[in-house]
């Protein structure tokens, strides 16, 4: 698949006036997260979590730096900071995740006699679709409704973690941190020189040149 914003890297703005020291510290820490480091998950949970993240957010294989989604989630669960609310059908987020990871694996074992991480991509897709539709039957879910866990915990946490990482911003052409410098050109089809240039058909090379100047 061709990139929409070829050559755009929001991190090139790191030393520009678009970033301040506070932001540099925060983003540096996030980019420095070891993708293999986990404290909350045990080994089995970790494998399942990573496979889930890879499947929900299939990051391009040739991407030089991938967002460490699983590690960001593990860090959040270990730290214990919540979202400020939870659906009454779900237990607290750490319990929900432990239960859910075990249940996803149990579903995989029941259906294919393999843990989730060893399923083929097609099998994973089929299984997650079933869970999303609430068509899961394993005892391992206990009282937790699979569809609510999938929508409000699993998708919510994985997607939040991904779009907190600069790799995702490059993909969607988001301007990223913007303080003290914000933006000037706000009308249709306008970009500041420090914003991502979109590769409309026939303009890929020009967009790449413009994106390499972003800073």
């Amino acid at each position: 698949m061709t990139e929409r914003y070829p050559g755009y890297n929001v991190l090139h703005k790191r030393n520009s006036v678009s970033w301040n020291d506070q932001t540099r510290a925060v983003i540096d820490a996030r980019c420095g997260i070891d993708p293999d480091f986990h404290q909350f998950c045990d080994e089995a949970e970790w494998k399942t979590l990573r496979s889930l993240c890879d499947h929900i957010i299939p990051q391009p294989l040739d991407r030089p730096v991938k967002a460490p989604i699983a590690a960001i989630i593990d860090q959040k669960l270990y730290g214990g900071k919540g979202d400020g609310y939870r659906d009454a059908h779900l237990p607290e987020q750490d319990k929900a995740w432990r239960l859910g990871l075990a249940a996803v694996d149990a579903e995989a074992m029941a259906a294919c006699e393999k843990p989730f991480c060893e399923l083929s991509a097609d099998q994973q897709h089929w299984l997650l679709g079933k869970i999303q539709r609430g068509q899961a039957s394993s005892e391992a879910w206990q009282d937790m409704p699979p569809a609510i866990f999938f929508a409000k915990r699993l998708l919510h946490d994985i997607v939040s973690a991904y779009y907190a990482h600069p790799a995702s911003w490059n993909e969607i052409g988001f301007g990223g941190p913007a303080s003290p410098r914000g933006y000037v050109r706000m009308n249709f089809d306008r970009r500041d020189p420090w914003e991502a240039a979109e590769a409309s058909p026939g303009r890929e090379d020009q967009a790449r040149v413009e994106n390499e100047r972003v800073g």
């Binding site: 006036v17 303080s179 003290p180 410098r181 914000g182 000037v184 306008r190 500041d192 020189p193 420090w194």
Partner: protein, 309 residues
């Protein structure tokens, strides 16, 4: 009521207009007998006007450069005022340096071009305002293409043409009128327009700094005095007008300083110049006042000379 034939009515109306015009002429001596100031003196006045043209077109060059860069040169025509104002600056510098007491075809032509470009720009900017949602609204007057900005180029052209005419015309008239008065009127009108523009944009800025009232107070006063000085002969009036115009000229330069301070008042200050030079107050705009004030001073000296002779 008795019906008057249409042709007869028109004839009568015309006659009464002629009577009025004649009496106005006599009262204000618009077509006073020609005097003949010496060519050197006329050239000196012409050079003053060239200087005023130079300042105006320089302001346009920098301002439209910035603003059209901000507009990403979306339309190719947005390069035009840059080219024309640059050429007008060059022509005006040439005029300032030119010791010969006669006009020059290239200068004259460029000034005409500047005037036409300015007039076209007014049309384009007006269209830009009207095509946005809301049409002619405060919001669009604030943020769409500034309606008044191209007027500076139009004025640069008109004043430049004036500079050339004065050099050539021993009678020191423009379009048959005494040059001093004609230029005075143009300057006053130009000041009024520029004040409207500054007033609009300073209103957009909620007059948050008391200094922002200066360009809506000083130049209108100067324009008023200049206009009065044309119709009320007398030293005191002329001196007052001169003072007002000098203050206005000074204000044009001081305005750059104020605006530089304004830029520093935005987030990140001058370190964040790539944003603030576009989002902050426009640095190149205030010298338009200086350009116009110089033209006004030139007009005053013409009027002065006229009354001494």
């Amino acid at each position: 009521m008795r019906r008057v034939p249409a042709a007869e009515a028109r004839r009568r109306a015309l006659a009464s207009l002629q009577v009025t015009a004649r009496s106005l002429n006599e009262k204000y001596s618009l077509n006073a007998p020609a005097r003949t100031p010496d060519p050197e003196w006329r050239n000196a006045v012409g050079r003053k006007l060239n200087l005023s043209s130079a300042l105006l077109s320089l302001s346009v060059l920098a301002d439209s450069g910035l603003e059209h860069y901000r507009g990403s040169f979306q339309n190719r025509l947005m390069y035009l005022p840059l080219a024309v104002s640059a050429a007008t600056v060059a022509a005006s510098l040439f005029g300032i340096a030119d010791a010969r007491a006669k006009s020059h075809a290239v200068r004259d032509g460029l000034y005409v071009l500047a005037g036409l470009t300015g007039a076209t720009g007014l049309g384009f900017h007006g269209y830009n305002v009207m095509k946005r949602p809301g049409g002619l609204s405060w919001l669009n007057l604030f943020y769409a293409a500034p309606v008044g900005a191209p007027m500076a180029l139009l004025l640069a052209g008109v004043l430049g043409r004036g500079a050339e005419r004065i050099r050539d015309d021993e009678a020191c008239t423009i379009l048959g009128y005494p040059a001093g008065k004609a230029l005075g009127l143009v300057t006053s009108a130009g000041l009024a327009g520029t004040v409207a523009e500054a007033g609009l944009l300073h209103f957009r800025g909620a007059f948050q700094n008391p200094g922002m009232f200066l360009p809506v107070v000083v130049p209108p006063a100067a324009a008023g005095l200049l206009t009065t000085a044309q119709f009320r002969p007398g030293n005191i009036m002329r001196r007052a007008a001169k003072l007002g115009l000098r203050l206005t000229a000074l204000l044009g330069f001081a305005g750059v300083g104020f605006h530089a301070y304004g830029i520093s008042r935005n987030m990140g200050g001058w370190r964040n110049w790539s944003q603030n030079i576009l989002n902050g107050p426009p640095l190149p705009a205030p010298p338009s006042f200086t350009g116009l004030a110089l033209a006004g001073l030139a007009a005053l000296s013409l009027i002065e000379r006229g009354s001494h002779d």
